[in-house]
Amino acid sequence: MNAPLPSVTGAQKIGIVDCDIHPVQRSAADLYPYMSQRWREHSEMFGPHIRQGLTGMQVYPRMMAAGQRADAYPAGGGPPGSDLDMMRAQHLDAVGVEWGMLVALSKGGMEERNPDYATVLSHAVNEWQRHDWVAKEPRLLAGVVVPQEDADFCVQEIQLRAQDKAFKQVIISPRSAEPLGRRRYWPIYAAAQECGLPIGLHPAAFSGGAPSTSAGWPTYYMQEHYGFCTGMQGNIVSMIFEGVFERFPRLKIALIESGFTWMPAMAWRMDAAFERMRKEVPHLKRRPSDTIREHFWFATQPLEEPENPAHLPEIIDWIGWDRLLFSTDYPHWDYDDPRHCIRFRMTEAQRAMLFRDNARTLYGLP
């Protein structure tokens, strides 16, 4: 009479592509098979993941189970997202995931301050994704996690992984040391474009120095959570006006867990400035909104929940139904369940695009 997981599932008409699934190591030791003895000792002695003083602590305490779904802790121990069988039962099978895009946060080196250790972590987490996840579960696909501050290493790691069909995008942190349009990051974009891999941007917990809001450091986690949107806006404006897309005309960017409803207003504002003041940026040949329309995709979770749900499809009309990627953020607390989170009407064609086909096109999935 006691069932540990929800056993009632709604009818899911089409298989979905989930563009945001977080696999997690049970502990740092999961990465040791993919690291040299020198760095295993480093991890044991100094701890992983250091852009801030309190290793392993979150900057902003989160209201729900350290930011996780409270029902996603594996019975056998370890953090949510560390048990493939549980992920299958609770998520992949339960909601009908056809393809799941892994976004390996935390130990992938993009938040690591020690530059040598960052490269070791990046390589190890990519090996770990390949062997411990994708090889065991063919519905899962990996993203090449790289430490964006070390562009030379990023190029090398991207080129290495691009030959492997398990990897479908490049993941860098939007909480980088400088705004992502700066030229220090351009070698990463060149490599991604050359290899035909989109760049996935997903908010990171730890910053490269800049506060997560332009007003300064937030007080509460609620502010930090909202900062995912504004933080991403700063990076997009930087990439557009600094000319990234003039130089890399085939570069594709997926914005993950950063919202999308704000995009039309931001594009209108950028267009207005561009029409009046374009002489400051003579390298730009097109209106910002045209660049956005061609180069950006948006993952849905956490989907906004307006009082009148019909407002959302109006905004999607402005952005384009071909630009949205469905995502759940499993196993995090603000998970969107594909059976329940959409509260507005869609045509069957729109539904297919949103849940599946846009992601297939962007990532080149069968």
């Binding site: 009479m1 069932a3 929800p6 998970y335």
Partner: protein, 139 residues
Amino acid sequence: MSKSRFVVARTSDVAPGTSLRVNAGGRDIALFNIAGAFFALGDRCPHESGSLCAGKIVGFAEADEPGKYRLVRDGEFVRCPWHGWEFDIRTGKSWCDPEKSRVRAYQTGVTSGSDLVEGPYVAETFKVSVEENYVVVEI
């Protein structure tokens, strides 16, 4: 419509301060024990259908002004394991939006095994022993 009464658990199955997922008449129900009193809610959050009995049992943080807060009614609210929506275990109502956001609350009672043998109860899932007490949910 007349209600049916379902025997869903032994009282000893649900310790004070905990919850248990049970099934009665095909419905998933979250059963709670608050200091010896039993309460039953539909085990489905009205937001995105998270399972409430997997949620944390909490109190309510009340504040008159920033920085001055207190915890009241500790152990009488359940927080959905997904997005943290909270419901009063006694009524199924959300504190923030009691009219629109609520889960179904069911009547419960405790009955001895010897009474149960007489009926009209439905014990779907296990055998009733006359020596023990049982939680009964009305649907």
